[in-house]
């Protein structure tokens, strides 16, 4: 009853092609963004900003990136951590060597560099498929991780191999408090998400999906796999690169290649599978799930007032996290986004089912 498109007529092509053709969707997205940008700062504390909201948003961007490649174009990749590292180190070097550069340009540059590297490592996808490709993308992961640890220029000859960024300013305004950082990350996330939404529902997105569903069939109807796969690698790496630069600059502040190791790749992959392959909403839900659940599980015993050794808590965290993944997959293999979609369907009729 509350979620019905009855009576909403599309009277022009523009209306038909809108991002959110249904009024309720449009309004809920606007309300959500308004709440995130205006409402959240009213009550959020520093912990909520730095350990929950900012990581979730940044990792959502990375998840969107991987979702474009894996969820939309069907190319399984385990190299996200490496591409995040490319973004982080590209941004670091630009900011270091041309300190006057606007921070927006720095992040764009990070995305572009990751894109170029992504194109290079995307080439094998033209020949290798499925799990073979997934493992092959680990080659890029390990190579990139190694390169940033070894080539001294990348880290400005830092003896420890750890690099750090100084103050970050946007148009003369320092981004130094968690609140400002959050708003900045939120703005970037919104822009990138809208861009991704437009990409995946347009010609390019359909091309990717055709390749995902069956690449030979897609080729026969005139889609060039070279074009489709490489464009997916490029766009995906761009997003992941930007996410890497944001992660390094706004979350870590100082980092070493280990921050972008293979576990990071798996983490981003978890997000899109738990959230839902081939949905942008799923990228956000998955990121929230993967960031929040370990924190939640870790603190659960103390909230419940159960005295437990630290080791036990961590072991239980491991076990419950694993069990939850399996349970989720059994209950809904298409991810959290699918649950949301089912919920929306129900809302059309609720509370009068007949």
């Amino acid at each position: 009853m509350f979620y019905r498109e009855v009576g909403q007529f599309k009277t022009s092509y523009d209306a038909d092609e809108a991002i959110f053709p249904i009024a309720q969707d449009r309004w809920s997205v606007i309300v959500l963004i308004a709440f995130a940008s205006l409402g959240v700062p009213l009550f959020a504390g520093q912990y909520l900003y730095t350990e929950v909201l900012i990581p979730v948003l940044i990792l959502s961007i990375a998840a969107i990136g991987l979702n474009i490649l894996t969820g939309y174009c069907g190319q399984l990749s385990l190299g996200s951590g490496g591409f995040m590292a490319v973004g982080a180190y590209a941004a670091y070097n630009l900011a270091l060597r041309l300190p006057e550069t606007n921070i927006i340009l720095v992040f764009l540059f990070a995305g572009v560099m990751a894109m170029l590297v992504g194109l290079l490592f995307g080439l094998p996808s033209l020949r290798i498929k499925g799990f073979y490709l997934a493992v092959a993308t680990l080659a890029s992961q390990f190579f990139l991780e190694w390169a940033f640890a070894r080539v001294k220029w990348f880290t400005n000859y830092a003896p420890s191999g750890s690099v750090a960024v100084g103050r970050i300013e946007l148009f003369g305004i320092p981004i130094d408090t968690p609140g400002k950082t959050y708003i900045f990350v939120l703005a970037i996330t919104v822009v990138l998400t809208l861009a991704a939404k437009n990409l995946v529902r347009g010609r390019i997105g359909r091309m990717w999906m055709a390749i995902r569903d069956m690449d030979i069939a897609a080729e026969i109807i005139g889609i060039r796999p070279l074009h489709a796969k490489l464009s997916a690698f490029a766009v995906s790496s761009f997003y992941i690169g930007v996410a890497g630069a944001l992660w390094a600059f706004l979350r870590l502040g100082s980092w070493e290649p280990l921050a972008f190791d293979v576990n990071r790749s798996f983490q981003v992959l978890f997000m899109i599978i738990i959230g839902g392959l081939g949905t942008l909403l799923g990228s956000f839900l998955g990121a929230a799930f993967i960031v929040l659940v370990p924190i939640f599980l870790n603190q659960l015993p103390s909230w419940l007032g159960i005295a437990m050794s630290t080791a036990m808590i961590s072991h239980i965290e491991f076990m419950l996290f694993g069990a939850m993944i399996v349970l989720f997959l059994i209950a809904e293999p298409h991810g959290l986004a699918r649950l949301w979609a089912i919920g929306k369907e129900k809302l059309r009729l609720w509370p009068f089912p007949y």
Binding site: L48, S160, G161, A164, G166, T310
Partner: protein, 441 residues
């Protein structure tokens, strides 16, 4: 399906609510100390005894003395798994607890120390990185909140080189020798490289740097290279399972263990025991103390272990990393005590404890009083020197226990001080900091 959706939403609400809920309020006369540990994962064998030592010392202070001058210690552990991002999360979660916030933080990882260095400056909480962390953070005018007490990695490397030089008959005899460094591929493992290069330049010995990828179970190629290059000495900068693997691989390629020198994090019981007899003759630097129970253990037994309050097993309380945990906790507690003399016997803020750390002065008499006689030398911290002391010894594993194999060695400040100055100045320039001693009122 609605039920499922609803339960999903409920989980979501529960999560959001749970994150927002504040920690239960603590009583007023308590000093909160967070404790970043790792009792699980690849580095647990080394993380567990250290964490036990820290926990036992705090408990002992509460049980025996009723706290620090009547201020009870409340501490909470958070498992980082040696991962930097988890460490930062733990720190953020715990830093504001207690009536006055965290007194100080012990990261127990060089990577986490790096990541926290800037955050603690903003939050005004000191870091105690005893025997690890950035070597240049000894310069308190730039790293106002970092306290690498007892020795940095440059000190460790210098002590080992001095010992080797002594064995060879002087630094000039090192000319033409080859010294290899097998290191954990992280900021931790890379720290000594700068000093080794400097010393190599001074004395004309050759160096060979061999990184080992985390967690360090794959070292075949590393040790084949050592066999083929035949270095005169191998320094080991490992942690966790990497140490025992290195010793086992050394056995497998027949490299003499007598020529191997580990840093003080590569010289504990879990490192040598798995190699059994193979580890005989292996050396490591000692962060002042060595293994074995001492005076303080009488109190530990009386107040904790006889009552079943101890965190470890009684026979494990003489292990190197456990003792190191005791010492680390003791230095923190003494810093709070020092600060209390100035700011009053009440819970203190991180800023006040920092003053206590910077003015920490533990004499030989005081060490004896505290029950640490023979384990520790006097330590005096100042703004210019956040290390406090830079002496150590070399110990050798005889197959059963660690034996001290050298006199006290002090790192050569004519070599290290200029390096610290240069590195700290570079850091200050990068971060646009103005060096200067911090004054606390």
């Amino acid at each position: 399906m609605t039920g499922k959706t609803m339960s999903g939403i409920r989980v979501g609400i529960a999560l959001a609510g749970a994150v927002a809920v504040a920690a239960p309020a603590l009583a007023q006369n308590e000093q909160f100390i967070p404790n970043l540990v790792y009792r699980t994962g690849a580095y647990a064998p080394n993380g567990v005894p250290f964490a036990n030592g820290i926990a036992d010392y705090y408990r002992l202070i509460n049980e025996r003395d009723g706290g620090i001058n009547g201020v009870k210690i409340v501490f909470e552990e958070c498992d980082t798994g040696y991962a930097t991002d988890r460490g930062v999360e733990c720190y953020e979660r715990l830093k504001g607890k207690g009536p006055t916030g965290a007194a100080y933080v012990i990261p127990l990882s060089t990577g986490i120390t790096f990541a926290l260095t800037e955050k603690t400056t903003v939050d005004k909480i000191p870091i105690i990185s005893m025997g690890y962390g950035r070597s240049e953070s000894r310069d308190g005018s730039v790293f106002q909140w970092n306290f690498p007490l007892l020795g940095t990695y440059w000190t460790a490397a210098d002590i080992i080189l001095q010992h080797i030089a002594k064995k060879e008959g002087g630094f000039d005899k090192l000319k033409g020798k080859k010294i290899a460094l097998v290191y954990h591929d992280s900021p931790y493992g890379k720290e000594p490289i700068a000093l080794l290069q400097k010393r190599a330049q001074m004395h004309g010995f050759e160096t060979l740097f061999l990184p080992v990828t985390h967690p360090g179970v794959e070292q075949k190629a590393t040790w084949l290279q050592i066999r083929q290059n035949r270095p005169d000495y191998v320094l080991l900068w490992g942690w966790g399972v990497m140490n025992s693997t290195a010793i086992k691989e050394a056995v497998a390629v027949g490299y003499p263990r007598e020529k191997m020198y580990g840093v003080w994090w590569s010289g504990a019981e879990p490192d040598v025991r798995p190699a059994e007899d193979g580890a005989k003759g292996y050396n490591s630097a000692a962060l002042q103390h060595t293994a074995g129970q001492f005076k303080l253990h009488e109190d530990l037994k009386k107040y904790l272990y006889d009552k079943g309050l101890g965190a470890a097993k009684w026979e494990e309380t003489g292990e190197i990393l456990y003792v190191r945990g005791l010492i680390n906790a003791m230095l923190g507690v003494e810093a709070i005590r020092t600060a209390q003399e100035r700011f009053g016997k009440k819970p203190l803020t991180g800023e006040q404890v920092r003053w206590g750390l910077e003015n920490l002065d533990i004499s030989a008499d005081r060490i004896k009083q505290l029950g640490f006689e023979g384990e520790l030398r006097p330590i005096k911290v100042s703004c210019a020197d956040h290390e406090g002391t830079r002496t150590g010894r070399i110990q050798t594993w005889d197959g059963k226990k660690w034996n001290i194999a050298s006199d006290w060695l002090t790192s050569d400040d004519s070599v290290i001080a200029p390096m610290v100055k240069e590195a700290a100045a570079k850091y200050a320039a990068e971060k646009k900091l103005t060096p200067g001693c911090l004054v606390t009122n």
